[in-house]
């Protein structure tokens, strides 16, 4: 998007120096101003270190939430550096914001993790950094050897003399540290020479993880730090009516009780999300006991009567009316009048929670004139903003260190838990690690929006789709953002260029706002998870209604291969051919069209998510009681040039499981203005025994610029399952979660 374009135009260059230990140290040290002249910056951090023993340390700039960027981003840099990957180690970099200019900006490019952008954001710059480092070493070697630089080769962290001699990079550290890079970008490798990019590489932290040494946010134990837990108001926008903390303060180990005010009702979420009371103690157990001893009465707030049943009724009523028309091609009403056949279906998507296995937590130490944050973060820049907002400390005086994250899924895009920790540290003067429990997490999330969808398709005599509408009533995730106008709330809910835009002549999208008090936010592949379930289920429904083969029907809708405009995130273009390729691939792999035993079915789905193309084919068998067994699950994905195929397979497998687990089991329900679920018994993530034994993933070879892959595996898993269940049983599941709907329907039948 815009951020990416600005990174490319604002070229950054490495500055080389020699460390006291003799390592070549490379720092993104200067930028070129618009007139081409360098802009000096303070040297803050090291991106590449070539040690005297020729080991290479590469800084990982991105937030590692399990999506693998601590491995894949350094691979991009290592490729252009021509580093021996087996001798590369990776070091997590802290947040590096440059405050020297008029606007703060990331020093190493974007360090957040959201929208599957780490790879596309890093692609241009990290290759250039790697190439610049290699250029310096080649120049130094050429000078020493007295040969032209272009005659000096490189391979596996060694330079190669024209006569075949080799020498380790480290031998040229001192000489390279005295060189200056040219003003123009350095030439990049031809992709045919790639030796790191495109090769399967294991997670760089694997040994730390399997031995328990990897450090997550909850593992931050700083000297003199206290542990805090909070009791938050369970009612949306409710407040404290009365507080008695006497018993809590009497619990051994409890040191303080701090009231943390929340935002006023309706006010944008810029810090924490609910009013609460923090108990600060010597350790977690004392803090939990202290919290249990709090006596708090809450006001029930403006949403005391909200319930899931009332939201369902609100949505159903709204779907009966025309909504805000956000895309309108041709004339759908005319198409409907002249249609040979009209197919209509409604779908329901519940609220769901991110539920990262490591619940939110943050260490914050607010001092008189500065602050330090160490936390598992998806938006480290936002963490610095949140602390500044709570404490008044200017952002340049706030340091932010990122630990590994025990999952993200969008939960850590908001830094409400950092704001809470900052508040408690400021109030007490102590360094504080604030830890959320699972109950806190399930009851106080920024949940994926709730919504009901109505889709209508019109067909002509030859079963071609002539018209299509998608009317959505949903609780927009943008509803409490300061920078979003009411007329733009829909933009988080419908992506107007998604399939089948441009493929159906009369195409209309409408949106209704559902009023709801529960906080909402971005959940892995945001609106794609909800909308792809509806659209890809509906394509299957329409095909069956028209007596067509669902694969042939969807391929006919896609039509000839061409490139269409796609103005939303993941664009600017969408290739029907790339989507066709993944759909055909999974169909072929699973043996689409073969005769199946009774009670078996195969379902297909394909979708374009944030620049990546993914399809699923799922074969299920259904037992007489309605129990589903996965016979085969096949996915194909085209995310552009694969950086780390092993990581891509992992992400698509994990996304598939996330999609299936969520669609089958999960809902956050509301009663009397609060969330009903309080732990995993009520929010049952799928265990191994409920999930497919294997997810076969086919990664399409591509030379297109790479997309990310953290979100591309989810959207098509659920509709492929629903379509498979229909193929096996004739029963269509349109309401999520599926839970026991199939068993009940079979009993009725």
């Amino acid at each position: 998007m815009n951020a990416l374009a600005s990174v490319v135009t604002r070229r950054r260059f490495l500055q080389a120096s020699l460390s006291a230990s003799g390592a070549l140290v490379l720092v993104p040290g200067s930028t070129l101003a618009a007139d081409g002249s360098p802009t000096p910056e303070n040297p803050l951090g090291i991106l590449i270190r070539i040690e005297p023993d020729n080991r290479i340390v590469i800084g990982a700039i991105g937030a590692e939430i399990g999506q693998g960027v601590k491995t894949s981003l350094p691979m991009i840099l290592a490729e252009e550096l021509d580093a021996d990957w087996s001798q590369v180690s990776v070091e997590q970099k802290p947040l590096m914001i440059d405050f020297s200019g008029p606007e703060p900006r990331f020093r190493f490019g974007s360090q957040g993790a959201g929208g599957s952008t780490s790879i596309p954001d890093g692609w241009a710059e990290l290759r250039q950094f790697g190439a610049q480092a290699r250029w310096l070493i080649r120049q130094a070697a050429a000078a020493r050897w007295n040969v032209p630089p272009e005659k000096v080769g490189t391979r596996d962290s060694h330079v190669i003399h024209p006569d075949g001699r080799q020498a380790p990079y480290a031998e040229f550290a001192a000489a390279a540290s005295k060189l200056t890079l040219p003003a123009e970008p350095v030439a990049l490798k031809d992709p045919s020479e790639y030796r790191v990019i495109g090769q399967p590489r294991r997670v760089v932290d694997a040994e730390e993880i399997v031995t328990g040494r990897a450090r997550y946010g909850i593992d931050v134990y700083e000297p003199d730090a206290r542990t805090a837990v909070m009791l938050r108001c369970p009612y949306f926008d409710g407040e404290i009516a009365s507080l008695d903390d006497k018993a809590a303060r009497a619990v051994p180990g409890v040191r303080a009780v701090v009231v943390v005010p929340g935002p006023r009702p309706g006010e944008p979420f810029t810090a924490n999300l609910a009013t609460g009371v923090a108990v600060v103690a010597d350790d977690m157990w004392s803090a939990l006991k202290g919290r249990n001893a709090l006596k708090v009465e809450w006001t029930r707030g403006p949403f005391a009567s909200e319930s899931s049943a009332a939201l369902d009724a609100q949505c159903e009523a709204l779907l009966g009316k025309t909504g805000q028309v956000v895309r309108n091609d041709g004339d759908f009403d005319a198409a409907r009048k002249s249609a040979a056949r009209v197919v209509t279906a409604r779908y329901r998507e519940p609220y769901i929670s991110h539920a990262p296995l490591e619940a939110p937590c943050a260490f914050v130490h607010v001092m008189s004139d500065r602050a330090r944050v160490v936390a598992p973060l998806q938006q480290p820049g936002g963490a610095s903003r949140a602390v500044s907002r709570v404490t008044g400390i200017p952002r340049p005086a706030i340091t932010v260190e990122m630990t590994r994250c025990g999952g993200g899924f969008g939960r850590r895009l908001t830094n409400d838990f950092v704001a809470e920790a900052a508040h408690v540290s400021k109030a007490t003067g102590w360094p504080v690690k604030l830890v959320w429990t699972r109950t806190d997490d399930l009851q106080h999330d920024f949940f994926r929006p709730f919504g009901h969808h109505e889709l209508i398709a019109t067909l002509d005599e030859s079963s071609r789709v002539t018209g299509w509408t998608h009317r959505l009533a949903s609780a927009s995730k943008y509803y409490r953002r300061a920078d979003v106008k009411p007329e733009d709330l829909w933009t988080a809910e419908l992506y107007p260029d998604d399939f089948p835009a441009y493929l159906v002549p009369n195409y209309r999208l409408e949106w209704h706002e559902v009023k709801s008090g529960i906080p909402r936010g971005s959940w892995r592949a945001p609106a794609h998870t909800a909308n792809a379930f509806c659209v890809q289920s509906f394509v299957d429904e329409v095909a069956h209604a028209a007596g067509q083969d669902p694969l042939a029907f969807q391929l006919a809708m896609l039509g000839p291969d061409r490139v269409l405009d796609y103005a939303q995130h993941g664009g600017p273009k969408f290739s029907t051919g790339r989507l066709r390729t993944v759909l055909e691939r999974v169909a072929r792999e699973i043996g689409w069209g073969r005769k199946l035993p009774r009670d078996r079915g195969i379902g297909l789905a394909a979708h374009f998510t944030f620049g990546g193309y993914t399809a699923h084919a799922i074969e299920v068998s259904v037992a007489p009681g309605g129990a589903i067994a996965f016979e085969r699950v096949v996915a194909a994905t085209d995310v552009g040039r694969p950086i780390n195929p092993l990581g891509i397979v992992a992400q698509i497998q994990g996304g598939t499981i996330d999609g299936l687990s969520t669609a089958m089991n999960l809902e956050i329900s509301i009663r009397d203005g609060r969330v009903e679920q309080s732990n995993f018994d009520g929010y049952p993530l799928a265990m191994m025994r409920q999930m497919p034994h294997d997810v076969e993933v086919h990664v399409i070879e591509s030379t297109a610029d790479p997309a990310g892959c953290g979100e591309m595996g989810i959207p098509t898993a659920a509709p492929a399952l629903a379509n498979a269940i229909f193929a096996a049983t004739g029963i269509r599941i349109r309401n999520l979660p599926m839970r026991d709907q199939l068993a009940l329907a079979l009993k009725k039948a």
């Binding site: 993880i209 399997v210 031995t211 990262p356 296995l357 999952g407 994990g654 499981i657 265990m687």
Partner: protein, 153 residues
């Protein structure tokens, strides 16, 4: 009154609040942070440790119940180099976020001790959650570790 037990072979004596779950003793007091907090309700298995060789949820185990028992955490596994299950986890590139994996590994170790050659149904008895969805690779890693352990005999 103090409780005596062993953690990773080392004698421990605890005189604090006996209701404290083993999980918080391990993390906050013994500073063995490989054992993770996931739900506090015994559902997710992120806090799995071995108690006299059996996989248990340490968030459900008060310290006062541990007199004379042997606790093994992820830090105590493979004290002489990596355990076969840990190696298999690396070989199969199992971890994504990695947060649940210490618990998964200990559950797998306990399973392989009981059932050296587990069927898929045996593996299904592991009830640890993986929020990242690494289940397929966990199955492969358990199968690999089972082969390695058999070959080593």
């Amino acid at each position: 009154m103090s409780i005596r037990f062993t953690v990773n072979g080392a004698e421990k004596e605890f005189a604090g609040d006996g209701e404290m779950p083993l999980l918080w003793y391990l993390r906050d007091h013994a500073r063995l942070t490989g054992t993770k907090f996931g739900c506090g309700g015994g559902f997710c298995g992120a806090c799995t440790v071995l108690l006299d060789g059996a996989a248990v949820r340490s968030c459900q185990l008060p310290v006062e119940s541990l007199a004379g028992r042997k606790v093994t955490t992820i830090e105590g596994l493979g004290a002489h180099g990596l355990h076969a299950v840990q190696k298999a986890w690396i070989e199969e590139d199992v971890p994504q976020c990695g947060y649940c994996q210490a618990g998964q590994i200990l559950s797998a170790v306990a399973l392989l001790q009981r059932v050296p050659d587990p069927t898929p149904a045996d593996v299904d008895t592991i009830t640890n959650f993986c929020r990242c969805g690494t289940y397929a690779r966990i199955r492969r890693a358990i199968a690999r570790a089972a082969r390695e352990l058999k070959d080593a005999k």
